[in-house]
């Protein structure tokens, strides 16, 4: 069986600057992989390239989901195919009501799958139930998307969307950044609830502490646009001890 996500010798540039310089990675169904790396190693670029953001140009290699190349797919098509990106800096959408936004996202998938749109009342109930797990109250759901949310609220709102959209592959980009200990626990618990043998995750982080909560099957160290080392969860602890210094040499 083909891996859920397969990245083959991926090269990508932003403008004229090459950032990713030959990434190879395979994630099987049900696995959680973590990518760690120093600032500027290409972690966020990798998440945007996977999601198909404009301006992030693939200059070589391929990205396959269930054996099918995604390079020609627009970002909304990739999303409907089951890829979800939890943003490091979620974007404010002034005036766009939270409920209508969530409904639009869920309906976009359903329409593509040839299903009916969600029943409005049922949907509100569903959102409330999932929001409760993430300590998101009704007031937050009524506000415009991410507008006036604290850093922690924004991250919880990302995980709420992930819970509603039920992606087969979730990419979590520095979901721990800007979170205090309590918020980190709420977010991690929310993510762990979504662990499922049918779903995979790619957790991008700078710090090991997130991986105490969301325990990965594999850890990869990204530096200088390449994966330098791959190991089990203990690799994260090693990095915590000795830092990223010397990683480049290990390649």
């Amino acid at each position: 069986m083909a891996p859920l996500l397969e990245i083959r010798d991926l090269h990508a540039s932003v403008g004229d600057t090459p950032i990713l310089k030959g990434i190879n990675l395979a994630i099987n169904v049900g696995e959680i992989h973590a990518i760690m790396g120093p600032n500027g190693s290409g972690k966020s670029t990798m998440s945007y390239v996977l999601a198909g953001r404009d301006g992030y140009e693939v200059t070589g290699g391929d990205i396959l989901m269930n054996g099918v190349s995604m390079l020609e797919m627009e970002s909304d098509e990739r999303a409907r195919a089951g890829m979800f990106l939890a943003f490091q800096y979620p974007v404010e959408l002034p005036g766009v009501g939270g409920m209508s936004f969530l409904r639009a996202a869920v309906n976009a998938r359903r329409i593509e799958a040839g299903e009916d749109e969600v029943d409005q009342l049922e949907f509100v109930k569903l959102v409330r139930a999932k929001a409760k797990n993430l300590s998101i109250n009704d007031d937050m759901l009524k506000r415009a998307v991410n507008v006036g949310f604290s850093g922690g609220e924004k991250k919880r709102y990302e995980i709420l969307q992930m819970a509603l959209l039920e992606p087969v592959l979730s990419v979590l980009d520095e979901t721990d950044s800007g979170l205090d200990v309590d918020a980190l626990k709420i977010v991690s618990d929310g993510v762990n609830l979504l662990r499922d043998p049918a779903r995979s995750m790619l957790v991008i982080t700078h710090y090991q502490r997130l991986l105490n909560h969301i325990v990965p099957d594999y850890v990869h160290i990204l530096a200088g646009g390449k994966i330098r080392r791959t190991g089990g969860k203990e690799l994260a602890l090693e990095v915590e001890e000795s830092g990223y210094v010397g990683i480049d040499d290990a390649a």
Binding site: F87, G95, S100, A104, A108
Partner: protein, 484 residues
Amino acid sequence: MVATQETIDTLEEVTGKYKYGFVTDIESDKAPKGLNEDIIRFISAKKDEPQWMLDWRLKAFATWQKMETPDWAKLDIEPIDYQDIHYYAAPKSSEGPESLDEVDPELLKTYAKLGIPLDEQKILAGVVAVDAVFDSVSVATTFRGELAKVGVIFCPISEAIRDYPDLVKKYIGSVVPVADNYFSALNSAVFTDGSFVYIPKGVRCPMELSTYFRINEANTGQFERTLIIAEDEAYVSYLEGCTAPQRDENQLHAAVVELVAMDDAEIKYSTVQNWYPGDENGLGGIYNFVTKRGACRGDRSKISWTQVETGSAITWKYPSCILQGKDSVGEFYSVALTNNLQQADTGTKMIHIGEGSRSTIISKGISAGRSQNCYRGLVRIQPGAENARNFTQCDSLLVGDKCGAHTVPYIVSRNPSAKIEHEATTSRISEDQLFYCQQRGISTEDSVSLIVNGFCKEVMKELPMEFAVEAQKLIGISLEGSVG
């Protein structure tokens, strides 16, 4: 809510282009092209008008002939040949129908396509009374019996001229004088139909009143005239919608709307304007030159304009309030969206005369394609308007990099106690916002529509429910092809 569903269905049926671009094949009774005293006599005779009305029209025509087309707006307008227009066109079989049964079935089908709930049974569910104006004639005014019970008059203005001459004489031209501007003079000379509403003292109109305007015939101008009077403590909410078939030539629409609110009266006037905007290359489309003005004559009276302007090749429109009454209130909520080669120069005037008068202006301009979108507004505080207040917020949103947004606010204060606030922003749909929505699986076009509707929310929430849903869809449809 039936109305809403019908409207949505109609909108959803259709795909990319202008959704209302069909022509209904109905035998039409037209005046010959051109404008002269005889044509005005023809219109007046067709309407079976009294002599005083004809005299008023002829005087207006003489005034118009001495006037010149205004050129102060930020609009690039091809010269209009006023002799190349039909000033009267009526669907032949529909003169004076008594009930819906007598209305030409073809017409009813047209309205069904437009999603207008003309069927009274359906209207019952939507609680909307409709006066539909097709080219130059009011085709059917629903619910008149129901309204008459509470003393509300809602009828075509041509009928009001015959049946309520004293009311019409007293108020017509009292808010927008004939010589106010070039197009008001033209309208006064040749107006063909429109709605008349009278709400007696102390009556709260039990349902939303609605007019649907449609230009169907080629080379036809539409010149409707609407007059709404709310006596002391009266309330009415009035909605108007407009569409026109897709045609290669430009068509002229020059309407005049006058509102009068007496002591403690309130008039809420909402418009969703979706005249044919022309094609991607600017071919065809309606020239929309409209004068709308409300007089808050009574103390504590209130007039509120809400408009969603997505159509027309050219929009020239400044719904205004004259705040004469003590503590009177004027409001203007506007969304003006231009795409392709559309041009809009729109805004409001708030004239504060009464002590303690207050006004609010919220304007949202969206420019896409190669369009030009201009907000032009005047806030004037007269010397007697002690403690007058105004708050203005003008926001512009740019979609793409070939369009223009302009803001031209005039503020004149002649009373030192006045408080006037003006806020303005210009922004662009950010790539971050688009990517965020798309990453959630929402298509580019739906993402743009979501973001733009969010930008307009403060105005949209002022629209009655029946219109809000249609207006949201319209915003999306009007922006199609503007991104990517």
